[in-house]
Symmetry: D3
Subunit: 162 residues, 6 copies
């Protein structure tokens, strides 16, 4: 059984991420979306909220599991016995950054390949950072994220009393 | 069964190509290496020679077939019922060029994803063009190509009376 | 009156070019689409055919003229008393190439600025080269070019007896 | 009347920014230089200081207004009824970052285009960050910024007792 | 006598840095490795520790001195009467960033050139940041850094009680 | 004695090339400018003309020799007992292309390093290709090339009866 891991912060998950998951879930027997618990990086949503938002928007895909993890990605991939690490690419700058990470992961765990896929061109400018920036400045992100995420952003803003 | 197609001119196949084939053959149930017959692009080796050199150097991989094709890649991929098109990436410039091709192929045949993998860093500077240029100027390419390709290059040079 | 020149080979004009013309015609009082007559570069369509295809697909825009020119772009821009040269950008590689040309034009004719605009993300992978390659390999380009260009490509192929 | 908005932090305004303003003010009937009030990003100069420095160095241009704004750029551009957002480009890395922002702004307010212009090659390495870094380490920035900004930097350093 | 300065944070020094020092020390009569004391950037290792680690791993090179410095690099290079500033390059993104710095340094001190050299391809993905990230997540960095640095990282982690 | 080789087609030599030669001749004891005799690439100027134009414009530099060579660069560098190969860089795209060549040369002749230097920013857009294109379209290249090259271009055009 071919297993792929798709790691990310998903703070929050965007339509671009969901597009990547839809596409790559067809390429492997099983896919684990792995929400990163990074203690040194401040997230807008809690780990549980981020994991829940991904689950909510991938429940139509039978072979996709959503989990969270902390520590070294290479160790997590080994534990899942995955053969592939999935990363979405949007531009050349993305690629250069990802190339370093992929080469480091290959050294740390040679049995998995990082495979890069393209988001659909209509999602090319969407990132979690842009979603948060636009939303917190009261712009509409309804076309950039799933409906449940759009609502969660509104609630988060209300809670922050912005 | 998940089938992937790895298209290329392979004029000639290099250690970088073989590295990509070794790696990605583990990710899919079956892999077709598809040697492109491009009538408008002059090749050093004939289509038959190029196909034979790839076969010779992938015969240790049970799930890899080597074929040639002409016409539109998207049509060939549809005919093979493949879910993935494999492309190796070395640098950001590679990526930009490949991104266009991948997006065009997605429009022409939406059922297959282009997946990009990295060649090992020790193969990062190797391309068929550099191999040919170095070989034709009497430099050694023994570390850049499989042994059988090295011999074929020497014979080709002798035949060209260089 | 602010005049802008949009130069290109338009061999053939694509939906991406038309998108750029639609957008930038709103930014200037008058816009001249200038089809380049480049004797040293072999085109699929004749200069007259290329000019006609652009005219056909921009006739809804009152402030857009379509012309052809040969010689130095900077001289043509001076003659048109234009303040701007329009260029579409798709990726970082486009930018680097265009940056050189823009700097050279600035030296040759300092009174005009090159202004870059983005094609819509859904046209990001479309270029005249890809259109020709796909069409000549019998792929469908109906979504990549205007209808009249699609027909012209079919006629051209028939004439070439491909 | 064609209005363009040129947004930026201008912390502080550099000779590169002034070059962009000089050039693009000729392309549009009116140009608004919009100094961003970003509460989450710490600036060296106050909003009022930054606005004043831009005003001081653009007062020779009749059709240029300098303002400050907070909130979403797309909302501000709509309010100004501008048809264009101006951004300077120096390198391919600039372009990739700006492309995302431009695409997001296009979605948020489709009536304005982001147009990119090149700074003169002699300003290609100048950014507000480099100006601040060099000045705070006691290097001369007299060739990088207008004279009034050079003085303001010296006063700011004296006030910080560096 | 031709003197070159190789500045960096070296937090910590990696096999990639050592490779650059080995190579470039052959190109100049004397080479000064200059460890940057940057008060505004938090380092994992102290200035003294970083300097010591570089010394330990370059003591086989007779014409290499290791020093630390603060303030403007251009001033330090002038004081050393150096004709060259050495910088390692790994990718195009590195280059764009370094190009700005090099151009600024050229303006500040025109008598020295920045010369760029490539790390060996097997070190292409190694940076001090990746070394720290992997080490602090309990991954092995034994192939990425000299043995003494590997030990120092282990001690640092123990001291941090991670 | 430290010897550097600066290889190129120099068809024709530009102010950018001369800037690189001026700068790097100060870094090494001796510098050889090596004009490439490439039988498969059609040049505007003959090998003798190209060599003569470089000589004419570097005669003020005592430690610079101008030669021509054919065959593999690595073999030529070995024969010259050079420790460095000089290449000018203008942009990130230049870098990616040059990186491949540098890595290949390192494999073919490990005793020499490729060192990259930046042309002055005012020469950043100048290349031999742009010079030829502008000159042959009757544009002025007086600011892009030395005076003797400007004259040679005019004579070449007259001879071509353009």
């Amino acid at each position: 059984m071919k297993v792929a891991v798709y790691p990310g912060s998903f703070d929050p998950v965007t339509n671009g991420h969901i597009d990547i998951i839809n596409k790559t879930s067809k390429l492997f027997d099983k896919m684990v979306v792995a929400v990163i618990h990074n203690v040194s990086k401040k997230a807008l949503f809690t780990l549980a909220e981020r994991e829940e938002m991904v689950k909510e928007n991938t429940k139509h895909l039978d072979n996709v599991n959503v989990e969270s993890f902390s520590g070294l990605l290479a160790d997590y991939v080994r534990q899942k016995q995955a053969c592939a690490i999935i990363r979405g690419l949007r531009t050349a700058a993305d690629f250069e950054y990802e190339m370093y990470i992929a080469m480091a992961n290959k050294t740390l765990y040679p049995s998995a390949e990082t495979v890069f896929v393209l988001a659909d061109s209509k999602y090319i400018y969407i990132s979690s950072s842009i979603v948060k920036e636009v939303a917190l400045l009261n712009g509409s992100v309804a076309e950039l994220v799933p409906e449940s995420v759009n609502k969660a952003l509104a609630l988060k803003k209300a809670a922050m009393k912005i």
